[in-house]
Amino acid sequence: MALKDITLGQYFPGNSILHRLDPRTKILLTVMYIVALFLAKQLVGYGIMMVVLASAIAVSKVKLKTIFRGLKPILIIIIITAFLNLFWTPGQTIWKWGFLNLTVEGIWSAVFMVLRISMLILCTFLLTYTTSPILLTDGLENLMNPLKKIHVPVHELSMMMSIALRFIPTLIEETDKIMSAQKARGADFDTGGLMDKAKALIPLLVPLFISAFRRADELAIAMECRCYHGGEGRTRLRQLKYRKADAAFLVGGLAVCVAVGVLAHFGL
């Protein structure tokens, strides 16, 4: 598998209503969703959360296969969580073998934990799948603007973030290329012990660092040539604007949040 096929935090262009929502709305909705996820206690609450996520995925038109592939890297965490919850939750025992103690409560809490983690990851993925990195940082910067009052360098932070996001694919591509070039000279990155493997990385890391520094240099010069001087008085080509749909989604999100909270309060 090529390094490039990693989908973590990747954007899939599209034109669904989710793609077109204001990034700030999407960030706020994601935060609300996570809050609601932690409020939910029982079947009804989780049921609502699942329906909301499923409809969001359906609306986004991102392929199911793509979405679930995102869960692969954390599969091991999910499995361990499920295992711990299954056997170490005190309650009514169903089956016992050595130190393993399966309980009814354990089964429920395992199911809920697995659902909670998966939905948490899936909803953040849905955010990055449907929002381009540039819009995402624009949205974050805008939302964090009030923090400027207490001298948090919001603009600089978001500029750093967008540059980092912009260069991740470039660096991955570059790594791929240098790796191939060294393999063509017989370099072996896969076999041997830990020491051999660490040593094998030198022919990869040296050129990679050199090119990263070169790129950083070039970028700095290019930015200066266009008179970049920080965030002071800087205007944007693309202005973020809330629309009717954003208001509707935000109200809807808030309603779900409150509903799940109230239901949980009544033990549902």
Binding site: K4, T7, A184, R185
Partner: protein
Amino acid sequence: MEAIIQTEKLSHIYSAGTPFEHGALIDVDFTAYRGEYLGIIGHTGSGKSTLIQHLNGLLKPTSGRVLFEGKDIWETKERTHQTRFQVGLVFQYPEYQLFEETVYKDIAFGPRNMKLSEAEIDRRVREAAAFVGLSDAILEQSPFELSGGQKRRVAIAGVIAMEPSVLILDEPTAGLDPVGVENILSNIHDYHVAKNATIIIVSHSMEEVARTVDRLVVVNDGRIPFAGAPCEVFAHEEELIAMGLGVPQVTRVLHQLKKLGVDVDDTVYTMEQAKAAVMAAYRARKGAV
């Protein structure tokens, strides 16, 4: 002629199963013969680099086979690894892969991976350096202190030092000045003659490949529409132009002359041949009058 590298129905799909899925090669049957000087031309994004990275097992075919000396290079892991030494590949902008403290050590990286003796490594490094015209003084310098053209030569020497029987170069002259281009092309030619090696050179300059190669393979949209001697390939002027390639300038001039009714041999593609053809046509005409 005996085939040294062959592909059978080779297809490659990048990022299969994602929305970025892209078929870069489609059912390609490619052959390189032993000892020939082969050119691969194609428009940007046509699949040239993808094709050559299959020839030494850097990319695994999505479907189809790659044969080196008649055997599938993916048969065993060992075979794939050995093929990398037999089929040397110089990447596009190879100067970015240099990493050692000295030029000598960088050129020695390949031979060292082949687990050769110190004496043999030394011989190969010096010989490879001589092929590309690097002096002994340069061998002790850091590769990062050299000029772009010199770095390029160090990188090429790094592959030549493995003494591959097939040497593949991806646009070895990109971004060099005319003198640099000439030098690199003649270095490659020297290696071809000295070791009777098969050379495969990727380019999108018709002028450049036309002068040097025995045979041309045209890649377009992941397929090979034409392959053959340069004059055969250049007979398809219109198709080549439709692919964004065109033919060498002199060939175009002579094609035009022929269209204007001059009885001239238009299967030429170098300045010398063109001169001869025009002179012959001129003499024939004068003789007739």
